[in-house]
Point group: C2
Chain length 439, copies 2
Amino acid sequence: MLDHTHEPAARSWLDTANSPGTDFPVQNLPFAVFRRRGTAEGFRGGVAIGDQVLDLAALAADRPFDGLAAEALGAAAGDTLNDLMALGPPAWRALRYALFALLGSGASETSVRAARGALVPMNSVEYALPARIGNYTDFYTSIHHARNVGRVIRPDDPLTPNFQWMPIAYHGRASSVVVSGTPFRRPMGQAMAPGASAPFYGPCRQLDYELELGFYIGPGNALGEPVPISQARDHIFGMCLLNDWSARDHQFWEMAPLGPFLGKNFCTSVSPWVVTLDALAPYRVPFERPAGDPQPLGYLDDPAERADGGLDIALEVWLESAAHRARGLAPHRLSATSFRHQYWTIAQMLAQHTVGGCNLQPGDLLGTGTISGPTAPEAGAIVELSLGGTRAIELSSTGETRTFLEDGDSVILRGWCERPGAARIGFGECRGTVLPAMA
Amino acid sequence: MLDHTHEPAARSWLDTANSPGTDFPVQNLPFAVFRRRGTAEGFRGGVAIGDQVLDLAALAADRPFDGLAAEALGAAAGDTLNDLMALGPPAWRALRYALFALLGSGASETSVRAARGALVPMNSVEYALPARIGNYTDFYTSIHHARNVGRVIRPDDPLTPNFQWMPIAYHGRASSVVVSGTPFRRPMGQAMAPGASAPFYGPCRQLDYELELGFYIGPGNALGEPVPISQARDHIFGMCLLNDWSARDHQFWEMAPLGPFLGKNFCTSVSPWVVTLDALAPYRVPFERPAGDPQPLGYLDDPAERADGGLDIALEVWLESAAHRARGLAPHRLSATSFRHQYWTIAQMLAQHTVGGCNLQPGDLLGTGTISGPTAPEAGAIVELSLGGTRAIELSSTGETRTFLEDGDSVILRGWCERPGAARIGFGECRGTVLPAMA
């Protein structure tokens, strides 16, 4: 999988793409849908490079590429990336190679001129969802999260018996997926207080976030035709940061027997930037089960998954309260972990999703479920960090405390890959802010 | 709500619309999307009248209506009904009145000529889904079904404590909703046999149907803005028959803690015809809670719902095995019940869905959940009729038995409203056939 587009020494002619800490060097080349902020321009596809966005619609007008790369560029120039996602790996790679050549330090003068004419400063753009999301599915694949939350709901039996045998999932709500930066109202709903005989209706009292990664479906499959595990990777276009906001009091009251519904469907936030699987290739790691744990059944097992089905993606959650903003203070880091601790790989999730014949379509969004690492400070949701709301978390710089989220709180997810001998591959951020409940 | 379009004495100039047993008299006027079978014609909206389909695209070309009715006719002439659904009750009613005048016995000669030119025999058409379904949600609102199934899974505690306080629901899979007549493969998947220490992978061994009604969303709501119960009816375009096929062995193994996923997402069938809420108005009945049961919380309570939130829709499930077909025998009736026994109204379901701010969009599909009546033979799923697969059901005419569905079985749902002093309003049928699992 390693090719010249992963060379750590590769540079761009755009200086900001060569800064050591940038999320967007020439080896990354993630996609988004954007326009200049505050304008009535049409949204179109863009690629991040340093502190700029390469406008793919403007670039396409110049016809800089041929063949598959030109086809993929055309598909990426519209107001969603669904057409690009539908094309599949050969077209994705052709476009990646062409963009790498265009933006790399070896580009011709003509290329540089064409690309420069299509650059828009990233700090001047706004984003739309990268895809028209037909269906959104959320998995539940961190054993540490499952144990942490399980202890809150079912102290005697935190891990359900199916967890180690299949990547568990539920269908989420596609219509309420929003792009980073979109605020949302604290949801109203029903909850049952401990010991009460009747539920009450009111604003959520246990509002939480969930640190997740999402992945977008490429070509997909016809109804009734499962995707074998060995082909699953070819159906994944790329990954994003995802925050599965959760109203825990509503969720815990409603979820027996059919799972989460209103506790989740009021809002789900995704990062604007979609990092391709190709860009993540240098950060693949072996996927290994702890000794003594059940091995995956045949339809979920594949040598390639064992070899490098894991992904070492560093992840952080930050909280910025209204007080942080008012006093100009930096946000507080709530937790940090890596995706490499996940119990199932994204290819296994995709194979599981289709094993009964369910059809995935280009632009569908699959979430990994909350990503919590093996130690307590690595938990990916506040219900875990606060032990079900029983232990207050102190926000260092303001002295405030939290057991759940307050109105005005912004939660910021960050993700990146980094190690010696490879270029840093970043995801940017995924941000959302809690507005007060409706009066 | 009663108006002249419900007059039981009203007749059409088309004789087959006046036959006593027809599902489609002039008082009904349900919508579908269709084309002539076996052609490459574009799909377009149609209205059922007797044994004919009124082609709304052909009719629209004649410009027979003015104002709102003309706008609604134009919106119904495309390849989905989403645009018509988005218009809302005044436009729906304007079109209903105009179609009633066009097809009623009092129509002018010019009207009759225009309409006759747009009729297509129903037995020569094929259907598409009536809407582009952005999101599909399935409720769980029959207390009899909840108790019947609960006894199979949780003998000690069949009814979860939340059931009587809220219409429970989960998100379903929109991409695998198919129109009546589409066969589907028995799904592969994972199940845990009783007493086993590891699950097995194979074809579903407990394939089931679920008798449901569905309803399509009209204008819908913006994210963060709940629809009050008093306005909920205005957001429901109409109803259909719905079969929520279920792989019980897969479902029961996977559903703790996050609910059904692969056990449901391989296929959901809907009838082609959507019966409008206006056509169902004469069959509204009082919605009353059994004495001693909790009353709905304020946000789910409304005088109009108490007055006539229920709907008396007769429903039947029929099984046609391969042997029935081979021997030319009529299918076997498995059960019959009415929707009036449901524990929550469709307006309450819609209000609950949006109470936290979740946005519904035109064409979204909501299912009522399995409809089982108060007595054992009224159960809406075979897992209930066969007591979890422990009691074989004899198919009268062939002598075959069933505990769950076999390959080659077709399940046919039928629904209609009928009482003295009102015109019969029928739903047609919803049919699906089980194909063998993939080799």
